[in-house]
Symmetry: D2
Subunit: 284 residues, 4 copies
């Protein structure tokens, strides 16, 4: 008995849900979850299903072949099927801040994040002891304006060697070059320490303090070539007041960053996120 | 072209979604929304669909007849079909507090609440001027321990005369007798001024103050015969501190009560709420 | 026995609190509340006190005279004293949206907002019936690019005639000209339907939808000559998802706007807000 | 130059603030922060001050002596003075759950929690490797109904030997005997995984699921002899829905527990919490 997840998007048209659920029913699959969304403005249909195949005679390959010919091609679908037991490989990029790293590794060790972490890479050596204490390979790849291409090459080599499925920037604080963005489309998760689109760019807590906002936030998004402008996966906020200094905002923000990034990672690995038109559909 | 809502619950079993969506597809209906939920512990399946029938040749009656024989009886479904244009009749029960009443009537006048309000009934005369200024019939039915049966009779007569579909207790502050609860099962919405199950019963703000909680709440629920123990529809909270007096809690709570009650009413009239096992499924 | 509020700001220096509280103590005043804030970056000190004078022999005038010579001038203070019983006159500017108006008038009638409302002015006639039903004078002053000066003149005449202490823009949706801003510095409260500084300007819900944010907000701020850039008094947010249309955002935002504006008004009339450096200190 | 914190509570009476700030002013101290609270029902006054003594000629001892005779005894104050540089010793009690432990130790290593952690004690061996990887002594003290007295003795010996100032129960899941509660009054911080007073006692997530609440919470409180009934320091909540299983509630609750406990610890070590009448005053 196996659990599968099926993600679909296509032009909105009559009969998609019936055809899809019919097909699964015919394969003696039992649907445990279905959520769908229609973007009425764009005329696009999105669906996520979880189902169980008890009839082991039908393997994943056969299902894929039949679904493609009988349903997928009929509606011109983009679709993706995955086994819910498989664990994605998550590469971690960090810099000097340790709070997101500690948080992710704690959750990983507790079994809360169902991933493998093949390696951690950083442009500073500061966090190597943490990687060591969790027994995860750590690579030091210093960055500078001159070495940009070399750095990109080294990063891509690491990602290839360790077969990374997606990348998490746990406060990496460096711009990701186009070559890596192109290799990992909608597969690089960043945490930005503001409530985007407010305070994009550098030093958002300083800007928030200067503007005198009464609430600060954090935003997790997929990285695109435009800085801090990729599809938003998750956001959260916390109330602040005049009594809080910039240091207080930074301290309060740390907890937000941890929670928001962890939630985005969880949603990504459970394949609950669909990207369309620089926005996300995040199924619950 | 007409919009319909279909609510279903039945024993969880394979093929429900396929059969239902197939049927609608066959009637040339276009599904705009589907959400479903499976209570795995109880083995119960819940679904809510919104669909458009463009083929006006199939009327509601014909749809109902065919769906019953071809789908409903097959899966032993409880199901309910409604036309999204129809407006429910909402009876308002109030006492002396006016904030929820002002809020509901403001929303009603703005067109935010798609209901009819046939009458307002109260055990005090205080709020009659508000009813008058909104041109809604107001009935004064005083209550006392001795007149309980007479009061229930008068209430039931009013509900019958005005064909009320459901009742909203906008801080009515009186216990609803079994006769009315039985006549309106899962159709009486109350707002309780605490985060239930904490501080059930009288004077919850006083109890919250005494216990020194750092957050207060409000809860909207369907009324059952057990006080403050019915299925919860909606809750919300707000942060408080030692600096707040009981009067401050009451003032802060008023906004919570208004919002939580209004949201519960909206979800009810859009038929997004299903009751099962003294809990609610609230579709988004 | 009378209750007073004293607001102070001055250059931060040793001995301010002692001198002030000493003085009140000497007048046989009893301090019920004190809150202070130091902006360490700017070196500015802020304080708010509430105190009771039981010794009726000392009137407000005498207190003012003595405080000025014995304390205020010593520390070069900006300070303001007010009687907590006095009611400010609040002018309401509205356009076509009625939700904030209903909310404010409901609170006003309930006695929740301790103000007088001398008049409502609007550039449309739509909301006149609401003003009428609450027995508040309503003035229709249509606006256009050509009549800008005339409109400003009429507004200022109304404000003068009715001795308005401050202005609330309850979704007025028009830019306030410099002449009025200059006449009411830190005394015009606006509600902007976004989480500023994100989505300043027109159609913020549309922009929020397009950007795909997961949280929307509302911001109440004092009006300055720069659009949507004045000192923020209060903000609040609510969670949204891909499932929400622009219409849904607008509907959810309405509740935010009501609550945030009402809270800002309350803080203003209790003189809890101090403006400095385009930011606010909001005492609790 | 040294920073001090002064906490005061006493019967409410005229002149307390003036006398206290006057005294500090006379010592050439500069007050950076003052917050006060009056419980009008109980007639009790609370104050917290932070001040800097630049005049090093006045030591802490001299200040204490003079303050006592000139101010403290005059108003019959309970007061406490502390040097803001000193680090409290925080003993950690854990069981099998690791999420709060990872969170606390991550914050401790990052320098976010200004404490010393002399030891971790547990009734299970499971978390020893975590203690080891952070180089903190770990003691295994198994518990059972028969060994209750022996366990209390061992715990008290550890607390004495390591001079623990306060205790944090990071999901310790065992009732603390009276002997330890008496030795650490208002100095044992527990995290309870519900929004108290709702769902006190065992298995709160199961109870919350059964009741069908739409919001779950976590509560940090000081331990008293009555289970889950001590003074509440901090609470937070998160929204849930019918779609969440008990396992989902547990997973969502973990993040709440971490944040709420960490905030309570921070407030305690900065001496921002005053306990009175089984409630807390938590200064900001």
């Amino acid at each position: 008995m196996k659990n599968f997840r099926l993600l679909i998007n296509c032009k909105d048209q009559a009969g998609i849900i019936a055809a899809t659920t019919n097909f699964i029913s015919k394969c003696e699959g039992n649907i445990n979850y279905v959520d769908q969304h229609v973007d009425l403005q764009q005329g696009v249909f999105f669906m996520r299903l979880e189902y169980t195949l008890e009839n082991t005679k039908i393997g994943k390959e056969e299902f894929v072949r039949s679904f493609k010919s009988e349903v997928g091609s009929l509606f011109d679908m983009n679709w993706e099927l995955s086994d819910s037991e498989s664990r994605l490989k998550m590469a971690l990029f960090v810099s000097k801040y340790d709070h997101c790293l500690y948080d992710i590794l704690g959750r990983y060790k507790s079994g809360e994040l169902m991933v493998e972490i093949p390696f951690i890479v950083s442009n500073h050596k500061d966090l190597k002891p943490i990687a060591d204490s969790f027994n995860i390979p750590f690579f030091y790849v210093p960055t500078s304006a001159e070495t940009r291409e070399k750095v990109q090459y080294e990063h891509l080599e690491l990602l290839k060697k360790y077969k990374a499925d997606f990348i998490v920037l746990a406060r990496y604080m460096q711009i990701i070059p186009e070559g890596i963005v192109a290799a990992y489309p909608s597969k690089i998760i960043n945490i930005h320490h503001s409530f985007l689109p407010a305070f994009a760019g550098a030093k958002p807590y300083h800007s928030a303090f200067k503007r005198g906002v009464k609430i600060i936030g954090a935003t997790s998004h997929y990285v695109t070539t435009e800085l801090d402008a990729g599809p938003i996966i998750e956001q959260d906020v916390v109330r602040v007041s005049h009594a809080h200094s910039i240091q207080d905002l930074i301290a309060k923000g740390r907890d937000l960053e941890k929670i928001v990034l962890a939630n985005a990672i969880k949603q990504h690995i459970q394949q609950k996120v669909l990207v369309y038109d620089n926005k996300t559909v995040v199924f619950t």
